[in-house]
């Protein structure tokens, strides 16, 4: 297996507003539960709980923020309950949570 963690989505130019609180993922091994909610004012704030916070806290926060920004989110609170997820999982869970916060990816 070859692994490349450096994928970055094309930046979108529209602003993606977080309309309501939404979650994605699970607080189980190798996964993370991500909850995104509206926040007063600009900026993305990340609250992180992780079993590897000391070693990978900065990377986890960067992955979550990066994904939200690539999707056009400019204001949100992202809570991460991490159980050892790799960056790609964080990015996927943030993407799902952001879409759900619009009213649902499938709706």
């Amino acid at each position: 297996m070859f692994c490349n963690q450096n994928f970055i989505d094309e930046q979108v130019n529209v602003i993606m507003k977080i309309k309501k609180e939404a979650s994605a993922g699970t607080a189980t091994k190798n996964d993370a539960l991500i909850t995104i909610s509206p926040r007063d004012g600009e900026g993305i704030e990340v609250e992180l709980k992780s079993i590897v916070k000391v070693q990978f806290g900065d990377q986890l926060i960067a992955a979550a923020k990066g994904m939200a920004q690539e999707m056009g989110v400019t204001s949100a609170l992202i809570k991460i309950e991490d159980k050892g997820a790799l960056d790609y999982v964080i990015r996927a869970r943030v993407e799902a949570a952001v879409l759900r916060a619009q009213g649902g990816a499938d709706e």
């Binding site: 490349n4 963690q5 996964d31 996927a92 869970r93």
Partner: protein, 291 residues
């Protein structure tokens, strides 16, 4: 070569990380039955990110939700740009279903500047109608690389009862193999679901479907992979037998002889073809390179 296709749920990060370590020729990331309705979106997104991050050491197949659901297009939108090897459509009824999916994939390929037709199709035949239309389905698109039998749903659709012996799906198996062979594509058998730890039962069923003409069998548990691989792989003895025939045929050809004899015995044309296939298969599996 698709001796084994190992299923893993598209919703589980741990599985996606390790799917290719069990030696399966293909892995199937499942967005359909292994994923709960409420997680269809998150599984599809997770699968997309996994595909961007990992390049597996084997063929990658994505099983998508059926045309009867609101999910199949979103599934394709998410995964096609990541260039999976194969898409596995589900609940197929007719060749038109294949053409519908083919057309949609073509649209996505065009939109992303991808080579048209690069992504292949290997549908699950799990309705009575699909078995009746097996050959038309097998030839419905140049993307088609195989037919895969889904016994559980098929039995349900047939109002049959699944039996360990497989009487209920015997006709479907035969029909599917014939259709696949007639179309020149692979025939893949339903997984062994009676007891995932019963390797003897699995081996018995696998030998039976191999004898029927199947190319391989899907696996729903990593422990099944090696059992199925072994049965669909030529043994060393079989390889040596085949190699002697292939060499005999090569010599005869070089000497311009019309008749091939190995160890004093005449060898028929079909046997030479079988021997050539066996040699190629063995060398591919075992990484043998003949000079």
């Amino acid at each position: 070569m698709r001796r084994t296709m190992l299923f893993m749920p598209g919703s589980k990060p741990g599985n996606l990380l390790n799917g290719d370590v069990y030696g399966a020729d293909s892995i199937i990331i499942d967005l359909e039955d292994a994923v709960a309705l409420a997680e269809k979106d998150s599984a599809r997104i997770l699968t997309k990110h996994a595909m961007r991050t990992f390049h597996y050491d084997c063929e990658l197949i994505i099983r998508i939700n059926s045309l009867t659901t609101p999910f199949w297009q979103a599934d394709l939108d998410a995964v096609i740009p990541e260039k999976p090897d194969v898409i596995m459509p589900t609940k197929i009824y007719t060749a038109d279903d294949i053409r519908t999916i083919d057309a949609y994939i073509t649209e996505i390929e065009k939109a992303h500047g991808m080579e048209a037709g690069g992504v292949k199709l290997l549908p699950l035949l799990e309705t009575a109608a699909s078995i009746e239309h097996a050959f038309e389905i097998a030839t419905a698109s140049p993307r088609m690389v195989g037919l895969y039998l889904g016994a559980m749903d098929l039995a349900l659709d047939m109002k049959a009862t699944r039996t360990h012996e497989g009487y209920d799906i015997a006709y479907a198996r035969s029909r599917l193999v014939i259709a696949a062979r007639a179309a020149g594509i692979d025939a893949l058998d339903t997984p062994y679901t009676w007891d995932i730890h019963d390797n003897d039962g699995l081996a018995e069923e696998t030998r039976m479907v191999k004898n029927m003409g199947f190319n391989g069998k899907a696996c729903i548990y990593p422990g099944q992979v090696e059992v199925v691989n072994d049965i669909f792989s030529p043994t060393k003895e079989r390889y040596e037998w085949a190699l002697a025939i292939v060499k005999g045929a090569e010599e005869a050809e070089a000497q311009g002889k019309g008749v091939v004899a190995v160890n004093g015995e005449l060898v028929d044309g079909p046997v030479i073809i079988i021997a050539r296939n066996t040699v190629a298969e063995y060398e591919k599996i075992n990484g043998v390179h003949r000079s």
